[in-house]
Subunit: 76 residues, 4 copies
DNA sequence: GTGGTCTAGACCACA
DNA sequence: GTGGTCTAGACCACT
């Protein structure tokens, strides 16, 4: 029952919003296995900062929908 | 022999040891992008359980050396 | 009675349950900034171990609802 | 033995550099308990992105030098 | 089978 | 004492 005065509860919903969207894309096959997920890109697509994006990925990792893999090409 | 028994002053952390090892392998190119990392294998190699292995991956993720991707599908 | 016994389809996660609860308390102002959070207490309140509690805090950190600060010194 | 060609090994040292710096400040008392740590500020101070900052904080958390506390004032 | 998650129990360092 | 960390063992969902 958080009030709107100082901090909008809307903000936290963002992470779940992003999570749900990604969930759909993954389950529907839009996002292939091994497919890089650019946090910055996602952030921009959802008009959010990278914080909720990270939160969303955390959630999806909990669901086993995303996994950690090496990213040697960090020069790219 | 389930307990640790010893510690270093303020810098124990099996996870960091594992993280450093993986870091080297990634930077040296031993681990390719999208390369599956068998957590159990790593755990055995380091004589540790899976917990510190996951912790190590988290650290590397913070460093941008590993990335979250749609569940790579085990067999591929 | 150490085992879980049951699960929800694809969205279990004791950690998320805890995270949501804490999220509410923070947004509602029940938890003040810099307020110590006793992990053991939380664990007991939720009938869980300390592991999911820490996981929940991680999630909230991704959401920017909790922050890392220099070890608050227990007694203060 | 990472080569300098594509990715500079210097980059990862950054997180440790930051970690060591913060460690000193905390132990010397420059950073008080409960003191907020602004990841963005740190990032700028070290001329780095927020990724190595997060990595540094992860390391310090492993050392028990920083802890997670609520940040209700996210409207500030 | 593999990853992700959790319990329960135990240890150390710091305050 | 408290937090942070680890082991060992076990369960489920998805591939």
């Amino acid at each position: 029952m958080a009030l709107n005065g100082k901090h909008s509860p809307v903000k936290e919903a963002v992470s779940r919003r992003i999570a749900e969207s990604l969930r759909s894309k993954i389950l529907s096959g839009s996002l292939q296995p091994g497919q890089r997920i650019r946090q910055e890109i996602l952030a921009e697509e959802f008009g959010a900062s990278r914080l909720p994006v990270r939160a969303a990925l955390s959630i999806l990792e909990s669901d086993g929908l995303v996994t950690l893999v090496p990213t040697p090409a960090h020069g790219r």
